[in-house]
Symmetry: D4
Subunit: 251 residues, 8 copies
Amino acid sequence: MKTSIKKLLEDVRDGAVPVDQALLALKEAPFEDIGFAKVDLHRPVRQGAAEVIYGAGKTPPQIVAILGVMARHGQNNAIVTRLSPEAAQEVNAAFPIEYHAEARLGLVGGFPKPDGIGRIVVATGGTSDVPVAEEAALTAQMLGNDVLRLYDVGVAGLHRTLSHLDELMSASVIIAVAGMEGALASVVGGLVDCPVVAVPTSVGYGASFGGISALLSMLNSCASGVTVVNIDNGFGAGYFASMVNHMEVKK
Amino acid sequence: MKTSIKKLLEDVRDGAVPVDQALLALKEAPFEDIGFAKVDLHRPVRQGAAEVIYGAGKTPPQIVAILGVMARHGQNNAIVTRLSPEAAQEVNAAFPIEYHAEARLGLVGGFPKPDGIGRIVVATGGTSDVPVAEEAALTAQMLGNDVLRLYDVGVAGLHRTLSHLDELMSASVIIAVAGMEGALASVVGGLVDCPVVAVPTSVGYGASFGGISALLSMLNSCASGVTVVNIDNGFGAGYFASMVNHMEVKK
Amino acid sequence: MKTSIKKLLEDVRDGAVPVDQALLALKEAPFEDIGFAKVDLHRPVRQGAAEVIYGAGKTPPQIVAILGVMARHGQNNAIVTRLSPEAAQEVNAAFPIEYHAEARLGLVGGFPKPDGIGRIVVATGGTSDVPVAEEAALTAQMLGNDVLRLYDVGVAGLHRTLSHLDELMSASVIIAVAGMEGALASVVGGLVDCPVVAVPTSVGYGASFGGISALLSMLNSCASGVTVVNIDNGFGAGYFASMVNHMEVKK
Amino acid sequence: MKTSIKKLLEDVRDGAVPVDQALLALKEAPFEDIGFAKVDLHRPVRQGAAEVIYGAGKTPPQIVAILGVMARHGQNNAIVTRLSPEAAQEVNAAFPIEYHAEARLGLVGGFPKPDGIGRIVVATGGTSDVPVAEEAALTAQMLGNDVLRLYDVGVAGLHRTLSHLDELMSASVIIAVAGMEGALASVVGGLVDCPVVAVPTSVGYGASFGGISALLSMLNSCASGVTVVNIDNGFGAGYFASMVNHMEVKK
Amino acid sequence: MKTSIKKLLEDVRDGAVPVDQALLALKEAPFEDIGFAKVDLHRPVRQGAAEVIYGAGKTPPQIVAILGVMARHGQNNAIVTRLSPEAAQEVNAAFPIEYHAEARLGLVGGFPKPDGIGRIVVATGGTSDVPVAEEAALTAQMLGNDVLRLYDVGVAGLHRTLSHLDELMSASVIIAVAGMEGALASVVGGLVDCPVVAVPTSVGYGASFGGISALLSMLNSCASGVTVVNIDNGFGAGYFASMVNHMEVKK
Amino acid sequence: MKTSIKKLLEDVRDGAVPVDQALLALKEAPFEDIGFAKVDLHRPVRQGAAEVIYGAGKTPPQIVAILGVMARHGQNNAIVTRLSPEAAQEVNAAFPIEYHAEARLGLVGGFPKPDGIGRIVVATGGTSDVPVAEEAALTAQMLGNDVLRLYDVGVAGLHRTLSHLDELMSASVIIAVAGMEGALASVVGGLVDCPVVAVPTSVGYGASFGGISALLSMLNSCASGVTVVNIDNGFGAGYFASMVNHMEVKK
Amino acid sequence: MKTSIKKLLEDVRDGAVPVDQALLALKEAPFEDIGFAKVDLHRPVRQGAAEVIYGAGKTPPQIVAILGVMARHGQNNAIVTRLSPEAAQEVNAAFPIEYHAEARLGLVGGFPKPDGIGRIVVATGGTSDVPVAEEAALTAQMLGNDVLRLYDVGVAGLHRTLSHLDELMSASVIIAVAGMEGALASVVGGLVDCPVVAVPTSVGYGASFGGISALLSMLNSCASGVTVVNIDNGFGAGYFASMVNHMEVKK
Amino acid sequence: MKTSIKKLLEDVRDGAVPVDQALLALKEAPFEDIGFAKVDLHRPVRQGAAEVIYGAGKTPPQIVAILGVMARHGQNNAIVTRLSPEAAQEVNAAFPIEYHAEARLGLVGGFPKPDGIGRIVVATGGTSDVPVAEEAALTAQMLGNDVLRLYDVGVAGLHRTLSHLDELMSASVIIAVAGMEGALASVVGGLVDCPVVAVPTSVGYGASFGGISALLSMLNSCASGVTVVNIDNGFGAGYFASMVNHMEVKK
């Protein structure tokens, strides 16, 4: 990218670009032209994968407007997170989206062909953790990943976990989603040798404190190879796992 | 016991006991004589098992004095908990005790012959949990239990846990001792069908918060049949497990 | 159980079982056949006692389906926990259950004949703690226990507690249910010599912090022989107490 | 007191006091002369009772200086709180004090003759709570109260508490000092009908969290007539109890 | 009271009372007859003052039933606390009560003639604290106290506090009710020399954490003579202040 | 101001003012006349700026009454904070106000001409933070400040923050409003050299704990020149920033 | 500053600067030359005021090295914060500093002549808060402010606070330093009409929780015009107050 | 691996292995031989990379013993974490290790040749975070990664962060290590498009609460692509980053 500044400077030297115009160029696209291009694009996505809109803080009209802009720029795949059913209906009236109520995700464009290194396994401790897991799984699918769901394999019935050992060990990345005491992350982390992204959920009652118990449990996991995202942050786990699953040598 | 009051009243009626003496009797042993005997004895122990002295809040001379009183009353077995090495040395100079430095226990009298229903298994997640586990194990032994130690069988290497499945399943009661994320209790509770007493330990760093993470994890265990004691309370777990292991039909 | 693997191996040796079939057997029932039988059955229950379904994370159709499977396998007794009145009504339309609104429990099959060692006493500090206590008491009854309820015997009127001393002392296990400052567990634990399972409740306001005050109080009980379950976890206490009350010598 | 301002104004009117001098008087003793006298004296004490110096934030020379000023103004009784043994020794070299190591109190002047309404009973749950209790008891004695100590009457052995019922019921005010689960306050509050000042102590370990457990327990006491001071604040309890024990009709 | 046991024993001796009847008497009223009379009555109240029913955990029919029992025993004054408007209406249909919506109190019988030592002043920091203050003030009035209300005298406008100094200093006991930072208790405690009972309220937002900020502030008050009750516990403060205001010499 | 007391005293001396009248004057305006004038006025505002009414704890009629009093005294500008839409409608029926629903502010009188030292910039991390930011911005405008809004410039897209560097650096005071991890305050504080008032918001979920995460982040800001107000306290930030922006040399 | 880029571009156009050299210039001082000068200088200080070195995370040799670089660049005034006595001695051996042990500050260069708008008043609640206050006061002095210290004017003796009202009201900015319940900030904020920067200190015990109580109290201050810094962050308060006291119109 | 069981079964069938020997084989290496090989090896490492020993809970003799066993099995590279200088010295006397005091790591064997996908960048906010960063960096190096250290690039001087943008953007994985408010993770996450592993450190004071502030900040990061490990867990971050940097297609 520095070459583009060099090119600009050469143009200035050669009189091809007047000083004021060069100044303007440096100012208007200040970061892109001087090496901050990645910054400017912020969340660069691979071809065909989806752009992300955080839906929680936006009104349906705002979401529709953003989707419109994206569509005009040829970005035809999008994920709208934390979208309520009501907002989804309102958005859909103006811009067709595919709404997944459980995960509270609105999707635009179909799932791209998976192009990651391997498979992402999304496992949950119980059935109550499924909404968060779906947010993670659908996000990963929209970002071009092959996803395998292993739900309700919590450690209270350890045989359930163990009976899926083959599938767990086939994963490139595992997203372990669990509430209550969140032991799934440690047990899975103790069984496999791939990165495990742990998602604590707010499932539970009493001393689960809205997910704090699971969060602390996962942060203190005695198994190596486990990192943690925010409580109920299925999207973040899916996004991160997709990044890991698309690792490639940088030139 | 009510019969003893009845007897007293009959004696009063018959003139065998003067009113004032009866009044004094009712007053001096108020609870024992009128049905509160268990209260008065407070911690009744089976023949041969040890009496307990909480050592933390007592000076060596106080401990020596109590041990002396007990000895004079024929109570020759005792456990002194939370006893520092320095205090142990000072006590030992006046009253011979057997000091277990790791568990910080001072024992008087040998282990009684086990007379419980079955075996108490004391398992730990890691080697750092051993001091708390020893406090539990020695307490249980002093209270007349057959104790099996399974140390360092934490879930980070789940195979270690599973390779001791036979021993775990042979237990009448299991004491699961673990710090960090405390997942051992849930995993063990998900493997066996006997009562599990979970002891969170203060082992760990950062977000283990001195045992809070393990404590919350254990309280939120998705496995049934798990109860919890205070952080690092090996004594309490050993005492409770011994009670359970000595259950008998009350007449 | 190891004998069943031995038998399988002998059959392989004798040609009675082909290698592939033996491999499949080891794989299909991997844990049961190689010593994990208990794992597979997970929550083995005594004859006639109830199986447990955690209702909170399941839809009525899911619950009906599970009850159906259980019925087909001859399991005619069941407890569905944390069942809302609305869900209970929906379940009941498809599969008859007996709903206890206060305890939020759905029961299938009548109470089995008590076959425990002794009696379980469920005591509460106040009337507001009764729903949690009923969850514990009904669970224990469904699991084959003789249960005595002592409600509203909190320590603010210590004479109420003391006037039930005989009944407290007749218990094999006591479940002490209390909110606010949770002192009931310590006072009961200081009066009796049987295991006490303490259940903190979310009853209270202000600095009771949804049960944290009672939870901490119970964890720090100065009385020996007290363990604790999660806030409002009546089911867990009933289940654990039943385990204790059915202790038996293992062969 | 307003009369003193009136007097000043009359003196001004009569020329007995020049304006500037009156202005100075109003300024120098601004609050005392205009109705804030109590403010100015801050901690007004009854004749013979002790003045209080909070020792924690002061150097020995500062404490000596203050004691000197007090002595020069005829205040011969003083309490220095939270005084370390080292500081006490240093103070004592310059100004004779009577140091109570356990309570960390330095006392000047003997105990005044008790002149309160009744007796203050200071009760503790265990022996470890005694230092805080002594701070309360000595403070109350220095402020002119008849004090009865009932130590180690905690609820783990409820008969111990009950065997002192007469003494508890003889109190005008009770100071209940306890760590761990702090149930003593509720039990005592449920037995007596006089004000109970509860002092949580930092005695305990694990989930006692340096006194938080006892503090919350006491704040949530189901017994009426209980108020609470800061953790380990024996002085505050003794001071408050003395105030209550010296209630009198205001004119 | 011991004399009553003595009398019973004398009657037994004299044959006036048969042994079995004496035994029954000792058992039926176990605590009253053997010195626990105060316990049995639990909350003994002065003539004409109100009995208290904690309304939160009780249904309207339960409350009506209790009020009925009390009425039959000649207890015509009562306070029902934490009574919702709906419950109040339902109770009132069966048993006439005077409902104070703001304080959520139901009162039976008029205010008794004040018979305390002096006056109780109830002060609040802001207008939002008034409901809790009213609970305190009405409770105190029902228990026979002269009550002065000083509302909205918080320290943000210190002149408001100071302008009521005369009234504050006329109090025998002050109840300081404040949310947010709860500084009122310290400021009032620094101005007067009578006992101050501080009531933190849940008024505030953000880092007030439902009253925790005010609670901690009050517990840490640098002013002596301040004790604290639970968040929003106006009743407890009124009850305690009334106890203090009715201190009398015990025989 | 002391001169006014002096004048009063001279008048007393000269007989121009009788003693009783002087006493009354000292009493009725106790603080103003003796140097506490600022106290009495409490929140003195510059000419034309708005008076503030905290709306949360007040009923619409109370607010109307206060606005009426203010109007009668010529105070025609007012801010009513934390006003719900329903309350706003009710107030407006009796006293015309301009209601800003997002900021929950009711304004009386137009914005005064800005007369501060410079410009106040109000920046937010995301769009969800805008309501709190508007409360800050409108407050500052009502108090006579030139306000520039920079919304949605959070650090997740650092280029967005940086692209407004000129505007940020033009500020006299910056109000940085952010939820979630609250990094905006540190980043802005690390870019500019003017005072930054950080406002944590309750925007976020899971471990944002209602704004605690942002609050802690801001309190721990590694950038100098940052102070913090309560969670969601837009008003406080606007008020404080206005104070800073109106600094002037005191005579 | 943009002109400097323009100049560079013109030089390139004119051939005065080769393209590669211009490219290097843009790269080596990337931000300064393109408008980020303030960023580059980071903490620009007025002539004669001190540069700041955060001493906690640096070894004495590192500090000496930085001081050396600064000296070589003509920066002769510096503040080294959080400097232990041992580190100070070691630094001083290599580079003369003036060490203030109480405030743990190392100062280089004398205090500059005050050039702020007005006076900064630093007030403390007690004597234990003085070290933090000194950190604030010395920082402000080193940054060119006239500082007045008002120590030990806490609200427990409100008359002490009020007797300094004149001085408080003379301030341009007030730094209120207090531990325990931190009420000083609210009381001062309720008395004055200038910005108040509140500094909670870790002074106290028990429920002061290392400054949390004071922190929460200050964040919830009912007085307007109060912002808060981190616990014990005297430096931050002094730095911020100096910024406010040096406000000036930006061109 | 299943083939090895098949082989064993075939050997049994063919009489090559007796039944008892086969049973023993299945039992002695129960998981490895029946498909749990990965479990048994637990932390399988690539050729030449280091095995890990958690040093905190082990005595020097234990560590030496483990290193000895490893050496005998040809594992010549090892990392011993959380090793105190004293323990390191003791270990080193028996088994030569290379001790890195700052990171508290003992290393055996040199760094292997990096064989990861790309480069791991370890960045810190300040110099105090370096020990934790070194633990991460050395761990990653021992596990076969090319590591670039960017220390002291915190956001308080944002230009420092930005001036390393090229290096940050060259990373395959970034480990962001920061204490205090932990904003570095968000800022870095907002600049790059590779996975960021955030490590909160316990660096800071007051409301940093031993790393909680940074931890919460990182969990709530508004930037996507950020996961978090435990406070001060440099090892965990290095291990996880290495896993990610060694992602490969699974067959």
